[in-house]
Assembly symmetry: none
Homo-oligomer: 216 residues x 2
């Protein structure tokens, strides 16, 4: 069986291809690789590209020129790799979220969302807010975190939502449960106590679908 790892030369070639595509937007030819990496023959490049393809590191479009592409890096996939959502400001306990309908999306700052957090295909109706204060800490969300929310006014049991408690005039992020006539808002941390309140007192302002935290 073939081993899983690249040889030094294969790693060099792979890196060269990645850099080449990053810089020029198109794939290098075999002779580009041969020349810039001081490889004696195109056949050696060809041979190692074959290995790289079997390892799944690259994809080759047989027989055509500059037909190497890299899964996850090609311009095509790149546009699917990340998305952008508007950053609508700060969420603090006490002030309800603004109605997304009233927001001028074109003026809001945009933040980049990696596909690992939210696939771009599911980015519709999603916005971001910066969290101020530690009122959400029992939902594993800290001061300074950026939360990604999808606008919705209803929620399924168990979903983490931004809930506006009208009487208390407070917004909190909790797991949502509808229980015979009342609403239970359950912190994500099981050591914390849930909040019970009436459905009339709760307005859902969105569902939390991602968190970005920077500790730099």
């Amino acid at each position: 069986m073939r081993r899983r790892e690249m040889s030094d030369r294969q790693a060099d070639i792979y890196q060269y291809i990645v850099d080449f595509i990053r810089e020029r937007g198109i794939s290098p030819s075999i002779r580009d690789i041969q020349h810039d990496l001081n490889i004696s023959s195109t056949s050696v490049v060809s041979y190692n590209l074959e290995v790289l393809e079997k390892l799944g590191k690259i994809v080759r479009n047989d027989k055509i020129s500059r037909g190497i592409s890299i899964p996850g890096l090609s311009p095509a996939l790149l546009s699917q790799e990340i998305g952008r959502v508007p950053l609508l400001g700060t969420i603090t306990a006490g002030s309800p979220l603004p109605d997304p309908e009233e927001i001028d999306l074109s003026r809001a700052d945009q933040i980049v969302v990696p596909a690992d957090v939210v696939p771009p295909s599911r980015l519709n109706g999603v916005y971001a807010m910066k969290v101020r204060g530690q009122s959400m800490i029992d939902a594993l969300i800290d001061d300074g975190d950026i939360v990604l929310l999808r606008w919705q006014e209803t929620a399924e049991n168990g979903q983490m939502v931004a809930a506006w408690l009208i009487d208390e005039n407070a917004v909190t992020l909790k797991k949502f449960y509808r229980e015979d006539g009342r609403i239970r808002l359950q912190p994500a941390n099981s050591t914390m106590q849930p909040i019970y309140t009436s459905p009339n007192n709760v307005r859902i302002q969105g569902r939390v679908i991602g968190v970005l935290r920077s500790l730099v």
Copy 2:
């Protein structure tokens, strides 16, 4: 002066190129365009590509095969907004992190890091790991989160680090404090109790500089 707008044929060609790159990751050849768009001659394609380039809709890399690229689809433009770090696997309480020196970074999976979490300029020596289990929950890190770590063996007081407790054979993410002869590892959640241990029993494996959480 030449007009600013594309002719129908030019618009067709432009759209074809965009689609081709999106689907295949590489640029079409002139003959691809000719054939699929039922154009009678390669020179017609060449002529129209020339016009498209003057309009700034495409960029051509003279003389080389499949040298068409489209501004905006180019990875180069995005590389300033985002960075990539290697995803080195899973971090579970009990197993120490791999030594980054021993990792071949070019062979690891890469994940996208938004500049809002870590600026690309500070991405050196940073790697990512997926968290398994809820052992870090008191550090506001949940099962399934992706943590970004910068490799370092020492830490300042108050920094959040990945600490390997040798005797306990456990890795945990805590705030690090050096206190007269002993080490205090403080959970981020103030309701949790700190761990006290001897400096000999602690090996720092990196500092946490970011967290990505997906709740989709």
